[in-house]
C-alpha cells in the first residue's frame, strides 16, 4: 500500500539532501525505492541503478571476517577500489585485522559506512547513518560525506540529527499518502 504520494525532488552533484519526517512516515521506503530494492507504485526514479550506493541499519558485515576482509570483499564486488582511504577516513586502521564480530556497535557502523567509499558510486543513499555513532565518529562521517560531495558526488540522507554542513532539508511529512482516495491498488481494488 502506498505510504507517500506526490513527492518529487532532484539532487545535483555536490548537494546533500536531508530527509526529515516522523518515524513510520515512509523515509525508509523512499530510500529503498531510490536504491531500486522495491518498485514505486507510480512515478520514476531517474538516477541510474549503478549510480546509487545504499546503506541502511544493517551493515552487511560478516562477524568472522576481519575489517579488511569485509571491506575488501565489497570493494571487489564493486570493481576493485582501493580500501586504504576508507580505512583512514573512518579511523579503522588500528582495527584492520580484528574480526568484525569483536567490534563495538559504533565501530561496526563506521565500517558499514566506510563501505560506501569503496563502492565508487556517486549517489549515497543513507538510512539513519548516525545510529550508535559517538560525537567524534559523527564528525568523521560528516567529513567523509563532505569530501564525497565536494568530489562531485551527492547524498540523500534520512536522519534526525544535524550533521553540521550545508544541506537541503526535505520534509516528507506533507506527502503522506491520503487513504480517502480510492486507488487502483491491490487492496484498494477489493473495496
Amino acid at each position: 500500500m502506498p505510504v507517500l504520494e506526490g513527492l518529487s525532488f532532484t539532487v545535483s552533484p555536490g548537494e546533500i539532501l536531508v530527509l526529515r519526517g516522523p518515524n513510520g512516515v515512509g523515509k525508509t521506503t523512499l530510500l529503498r525505492t531510490l536504491a531500486r530494492l522495491q518498485p514505486p507504485y507510480a512515478g520514476t526514479v531517474e538516477a541510474a541503478p549503478d549510480a546509487v550506493a545504499y546503506a541502511a541499519h544493517a551493515d552487511g558485515l560478516k562477524a568472522t571476517l576481519t575489517v579488511t576482509e569485509n571491506l575488501a570483499f565489497w570493494a571487489g564486488v564493486y570493481g576493485g577500489h582501493d580500501i586504504a582511504p576508507a580505512l583512514r577516513d573512518f579511523n579503522l586502521e588500528a582495527l584492520r585485522d580484528r574480526p568484525a564480530g569483536n567490534l563495538s556497535a559504533g565501530q561496526k557502523r563506521r565500517l558499514g559506512l566506510a563501505r560506501l567509499m569503496v563502492t565508487g558510486r556517486p549517489v549515497w543513499v543513507l538510512d539513519e547513518p548516525t545510529v550508535s555513532l559517538d560525537v567524534a565518529s559523527v564528525e568523521l562521517f560528516a567529513k567523509a560525506v563532505k569530501a564525497h560531495v565536494d568530489g562531485g558526488g551527492a547524498a540523500v540522507i534520512a536522519t534526525h540529527i544535524h550533521l553540521g554542513f550545508e544541506e537541503t532539508v526535505f520534509d516528507v511529512t506533507p506527502y503522506k499518502a491520503r487513504h480517502d482516495v480510492i486507488r487502483n491498488d491491490f487492496d484498494e481494488s477489493f473495496l
Binding site: A35, R36, L37, Q38, P39, P49, D50, V52, A53, Y54, A56, H57, A58, D59, G60, L61, K62, A63, T64, L65, E69, F73, W74, G76, V77, Y78, G79, R115
Partner: protein
C-alpha cells in the same frame, strides 16, 4: 562474483560457519541405520545405495537455510541486490559455494561410509560418480527453496517441506545408478537422466531463485 564465491567458502570454514556439520550428520545417520535394521550384512548391503543417497540428501538439506538467511539478516542481501553483479549470478555463486562446502565433502566421505554398510564393491565407482553428478542439483534446488523462504521467520521447517519433494527425481536416479552398479547392470540411462536434471537445475533455477529474492526484498 568470484569474490562472493570465495567469501562464502571462507565464511563456511571460519568458526561457526557450519562446515562439517552436514558431514557429521551423514556419519551419524549411516551409523544409526544398522542399529535400526540389525547388523545383518546382506540386508545392509541391499539397502546401502538408498541409505547413502538419502543420507547425502538430508545432510545437504541441513545447511540450506544458511545460503540466504544469514545474508538477509545482516543486510548483505540488500547490498548484493544493489551491487553491480546480477542477482542470478549471486544465487549461482552461493549455490556453488554451498556445493563445495557441503556436497563435495559428502562425495568424498561416501565411500568410507559405504564400507560401514557393506556396499557391493562394484558399486563404489558409481556411488562416487552419481554423487558427484547429483549433489550439485541438490545445492541448486536447495538454493531455490532457500530463496522462497528467505524472509520468513519459521523458514527452516517449511524449507524442508518445499525442497524434499523437488529432490525426488535426483534421489531416484542417483540410487538407481548405485543399485544397478552393484548388480552389474548398465547404468547409462539413469546416469544420463540425472546429469540432465543437474544441468537443468544449474542453468535455470538461479533465475527462479533470483526472482523469488527480489520479491522477498521488496
Amino acid at each position: 562474483m568470484i569474490r562472493l564465491f570465495w567469501r562464502d567458502i571462507t565464511l563456511a570454514f571460519r568458526s561457526g560457519g557450519g562446515f562439517g556439520l552436514g558431514l557429521g550428520f551423514f556419519l551419524i545417520l549411516v551409523t544409526l541405520v544398522p542399529f535400526g535394521v540389525g547388523p545383518n550384512g546382506e540386508m545392509l548391503s541391499a539397502i546401502a545405495p538408498g541409505i547413502l543417497w538419502v543420507g547425502a540428501l538430508l545432510a545437504c538439506l541441513l545447511s540450506l537455510d544458511r545460503i540466504f538467511a544469514l545474508d538477509f539478516e545482516d543486510g548483505s542481501l540488500d547490498l548484493l541486490a544493489t551491487a553491480p553483479i546480477p542477482l542470478e549470478g549471486v544465487v549461482a555463486m552461493k549455490a556453488f559455494a554451498h556445493w563445495i562446502t557441503t556436497g563435495l565433502p559428502l562425495v568424498i566421505a561416501a565411500p568410507a561410509l559405504g564400507l560401514l554398510l557393506h556396499l557391493d564393491s562394484a558399486a563404489y565407482r558409481w556411488l562416487i560418480v552419481t554423487l558427484l553428478i547429483g549433489t550439485p542439483a541438490l545445492s541448486f534446488i536447495g538454493a531455490f527453496g532457500a530463496a522462497l523462504t528467505v524472509g520468513l521467520k519459521r523458514g527452516g521447517l517449511l524449507l524442508s517441506l518445499l525442497v524434499l519433494p523437488l529432490y525426488i527425481p535426483t534421489l531416484i536416479f542417483g540410487a538407481e545408478v548405485v543399485r544397478r552398479g552393484a548388480g552389474g547392470f548398465l547404468v547409462g540411462t539413469p546416469l544420463a537422466m540425472q546429469a540432465g536434471i543437474t544441468a537443468g537445475a544449474v542453468a535455470l533455477l538461479p533465475f527462479a531463485a533470483a526472482a523469488a529474492i527480489r520479491v522477498a526484498l521488496r
